[in-house]
Assembly symmetry: C2
Homo-oligomer: 217 residues x 2
């Protein structure tokens, strides 16, 4: 089992390193002032591991309510794209076998320890041609190892085309420890009403691993 979720903390990696979108954790009650310890979380819903709802980039797009009834399991394939510079294009993806309904996980040099810390605004992203190629393959969703799946493209065609095609965009994955392979993705979304994004917890399991965990309970 690989937990591919980011830990939410005030010093975590955020989109392009922008301080104004860092989460805040405020302890507003503790044992000095009361008989319990309680924390308030203040966070952009696009922080850490999360999905984008169509509303995030499409003016008439649906909210995250769209995903409330999804079963949280997906067939996933992690692709090693760690040799890609700047952006992932159709030509980088054509060498892989991608099936209809796959949840494609893009592992890039973003996952290399230090890379995003040093150049948070220079992350590897999925470009328009890459997004269009994945749409043609009728994938279920696409995940990437940084807080954005796109930068540097005017009008955000990667986001918009994926969202128009109801493909789940999963951002903020931690993939450094995970080798390229087929997996089952467990993607569990915080159930926030009418939101443009949903914070998530995500795990990858090898074939047969979930069944084996259940059998041992």
């Amino acid at each position: 089992m690989y937990d591919i979720s980011m830990t939410i903390a005030k010093d975590m990696l955020v989109y392009k390193g922008k301080d104004e979108i860092r989460p805040r954790l405020e302890v507003y009650r503790d044992f000095k002032t009361g008989d319990a310890h309680e924390t308030k979380l203040e966070m952009n819903v696009h922080t850490g591991t999360h999905i984008d709802a169509p509303l995030h980039m499409l003016e008439d797009g649906q909210t995250g309510n769209l995903f409330f009834d999804e079963k949280p399991f997906y067939k996933a394939k992690l692709l090693d794209l760690t040799d890609v510079k700047k952006s992932i294009s159709a030509s980088d993806l054509q060498k892989f076998k991608i099936n209809k309904n796959d949840f494609i996980i893009l592992k890039t040099i973003n996952s290399k320890p230090g890379f995003l810390e040093e150049t948070p605004a220079e992350f590897i992203y999925l470009d328009q041609s890459g997004a269009e190629y994945l749409i043609e393959q009728q994938i279920k969703g696409v995940g990437i190892d940084t807080n954005g799946i796109e930068r540097n493209q005017s009008e955000h065609p990667t986001h918009k085309n994926l969202l128009k095609n109801k493909i789940i965009i999963l951002e903020g994955l931690r993939l450094n420890q995970v080798p390229a392979d087929s997996y089952f993705l467990l993607l569990s979304l915080l159930k926030i009403a009418n939101s443009d994004g949903l914070p998530a917890r995500a795990y990858l399991f090898a074939a047969g691993e979930i069944e084996s965990i259940l059998a041992q309970l």
Copy 2:
């Protein structure tokens, strides 16, 4: 599959109906002012479906980091306690077969539509004797269908005894549609660093159901 998670919204049920702990969802960027729609969530981490970390009630208690490496699956048993008035005691629990490592889900009249809306401070809770009985059975965790597992007991013995024994307290479940039975619980926690509570998504599956979902992917 039963999704037993609450939806996070500003008009949701909160602990004893206290307005000051309602979540806030603030749209701070939309298509009138920019090219994307982004929401900020501001929420007590003990809102909606969530678990309590030992630190919530124990001065030297561990944070939610304790749960980061847990496998998110548990063997669960939903007990029908809808005839209990005021609080669940050891004598209410003794009639059920409870096994070591069970995750016990307490379904009470809190789940009856309208009950908590009308009397949010009068919720049914697990009393000290009930908690001690469950500790003796060496359960893994206990869940309940309201935002608190306890009220009306000075010094919070239910919380403290469960947390001292590393039993997971899961609050804010929606159980109205779910019959008493054995299940597999999928409990997925938002990975917030050093927190006294962790918002969660929770599902119950019948025996064999997860395996069947995976086989059909």
